[in-house]
């Protein structure tokens, strides 16, 4: 279980997180929604230790993430980045098997390649893709490779950062389905940040809305449409009018 208590983070005068309280139960898929530049990405990076919060605590299964042994802690995570973040200098299979070729989960090269090809197959890519370089792939294929890399070492927790940004609706649907299938199949805890409501409905067990640096609303996906919270209603229906300021 991931638990955030009163997490604050500012960049200069810009207070991005102003006391975030959030609980992500094990084995559930939590989706964080909210407008652009509202701190969703910062929140995810705080949990991973890529950014250090100014105050507050973040615990994973009761252990403070700031005090956890770094390698063992990160070995429990997989992450799909918004732009894929594939390493340009490595072929696709070495991207997927990156963690299996070094560090705590190191395997022999042939075995790592075999696992990489299996994971590529799992995300709908043919084995021939394995020896291509990321620059030779389309945006959708890069997302799939990123997804294969995120699940290659079978992590307990997977983070998805805007998984459908920049994809056409059909490819976005495919990625959403893949994410849902994989999370259920692996029994992983998932945390996704997105403002794509189709993704939210496809992926989420629970939804939390981040606004004004705090979690404005949280509940199960089935409760989202019925909530009377005007912020959530404005956001999920994409209305220009409402309590959330929109620049015209």
């Amino acid at each position: 279980m991931i638990e955030l208590k009163s997490v604050h983070k500012s960049f200069g005068a810009n207070a991005v997180l102003r006391g975030v309280d959030l609980t992500v139960p094990s084995g559930e898929s939590m989706v964080i929604i909210g407008g652009s530049r509202k701190g969703k990405n910062v929140l995810l990076k705080c949990i991973l230790g890529l950014i250090h919060p100014d105050s507050g605590t973040i615990t994973l299964d009761g252990q403070d993430v700031e005090k956890a042994a770094r390698d063992a802690f990160l070995a429990r995570f997989g992450m799909l980045f918004q732009g894929g973040a594939l390493f340009d200098s490595l072929p696709v299979w070495q991207n997927v098997a990156f963690r299996l070729l070094r560090g705590l989960k190191k395997r022999p090269k042939a075995e790592a390649r075999e696992i990489a090809i299996e994971k590529l197959r799992r995300v709908g890519l043919k084995p021939e893709v394995a020896d291509l370089f990321p620059a030779e792939l389309s945006g959708g294929m890069q997302k799939r490779v990123g997804l294969a890399r995120a699940i290659a070492a079978e992590p307990e927790i997977i983070f998805f950062d805007e998984p459908t940004t920049g994809l056409d609706p059909i490819m976005a649907g495919v990625i959403n389905e893949l994410i849902r299938e994989i999370v259920v199949e692996m029994g992983a805890t998932a945390m996704t940040i997105t403002h794509d409501m189709t993704s939210v409905r496809a992926i989420a067990d629970k939804v939390a809305m981040l606004h004004g640096g705090k979690v404005r609303w949280t509940g199960r996906i089935q409760e989202m449409d019925a909530t009377s919270d005007p912020y959530v209603q404005q956001f999920i229906h994409g209305r220009a009018e409402g309590p959330i300021e929109s620049v015209r």
Binding site: K45, L50, R102
Partner: protein, 260 residues
């Protein structure tokens, strides 16, 4: 505008400069600390040796041959004023090995390598590849910085050594073909005059310059701003910073090695 405004601006600039110097010094110390601690990425180190050392050879070689040739012409013209044309082989040799070989070699490597390292790591930073490394339990300092810094520190002295030989040969070509020196006596004069420390000091300078080039490239890449403009600025700062530091370090090392 009050009098305090330019003073405040000056103060901010000085404080900013001091803070940047401190951050850079800490980055150097952090790099050195990581050099000594595993894991070590041999494949990345060898790849960096190829990129920094081997592929810089043409540009360093061409710079050296033309510099040696021009130096021979200048020393000959200058020496003629004192009827001392015969010093051409020895002055070319000492000039190349002590100063021009390491400094020009270092500057050419700075232009080629610091820019490329800063652009590569800067692009990795803005496309979240550096963050991805962390989430894959890989320390970016160990994976990106240490192999490049080690490779540059070890290969630039070799480049300087090769550049010294090529530069001296450039002087010899001009000496023999344009200035009517006898080939054998030109080479004998060069060999007899050179001392071990003339060459050794240049190689030590080469190692220091290699370290500077790679650390500046990595530092500015790791601290690159967002977007194409951020990466462009990081690249420019890496080349300018490395070039200035090389010239400053050259003076300090020369003082340390040769001042009476």
């Amino acid at each position: 505008m009050s009098l305090a405004t330019p003073l405040a601006h000056l103060g901010r600039t000085v404080l900013g400069g001091l803070a940047a110097t401190g951050r850079f010094a800490l980055f150097c110390l952090d790099t050195l600390a990581h050099v000594l601690r595993p894991p070590f990425y041999l494949r990345e180190f060898l790849y960096a040796c190829l990129q920094i050392g081997w592929l810089s050879l043409p540009v360093v070689g061409l710079t050296a041959v033309f510099t040696g040739a021009a130096l021979a012409l200048q020393i000959y013209a200058g020496g003629a004023r004192f009827s001392a044309e015969s010093v051409v082989p020895s002055i070319v040799a000492i000039g190349m090995t002590r100063e021009l070989g390491p400094v020009l070699g270092g500057l050419m490597v700075a232009a080629r390598v610091a820019s490329s390292i800063a652009a590569e790591i800067g692009t990795m930073k803005v496309t979240e590849q550096v963050d991805a490394l962390v989430t894959l339990s890989t320390n970016p300092m160990k994976y990106l910085t240490v192999p490049r810094v080690l490779a540059a520190t070890m290969t630039v002295p070799v480049l300087v050594g090769v550049g010294d030989v090529i530069g001296i040969m450039g002087g010899w070509l001009v000496g023999v073909n344009r200035l009517d020196f006898n080939s054998a006596s030109y080479l004998k004069n060069t060999w007899d005059f050179l001392e071990f420390w003339d060459v050794g000091s240049g190689l030590v300078k080469g190692a220091a310059f290699g370290f500077i080039v790679a650390v500046m490239g990595c530092y500015h890449g790791m601290n690159s701003g967002r977007g194409a403009q951020g990466v462009g600025r990081a690249t420019k700062s890496a080349v300018v910073g490395a070039s200035v530091l090389i010239l400053a370090a050259n003076y300090l090392l020369t003082e340390a090695f040769f001042s009476a």
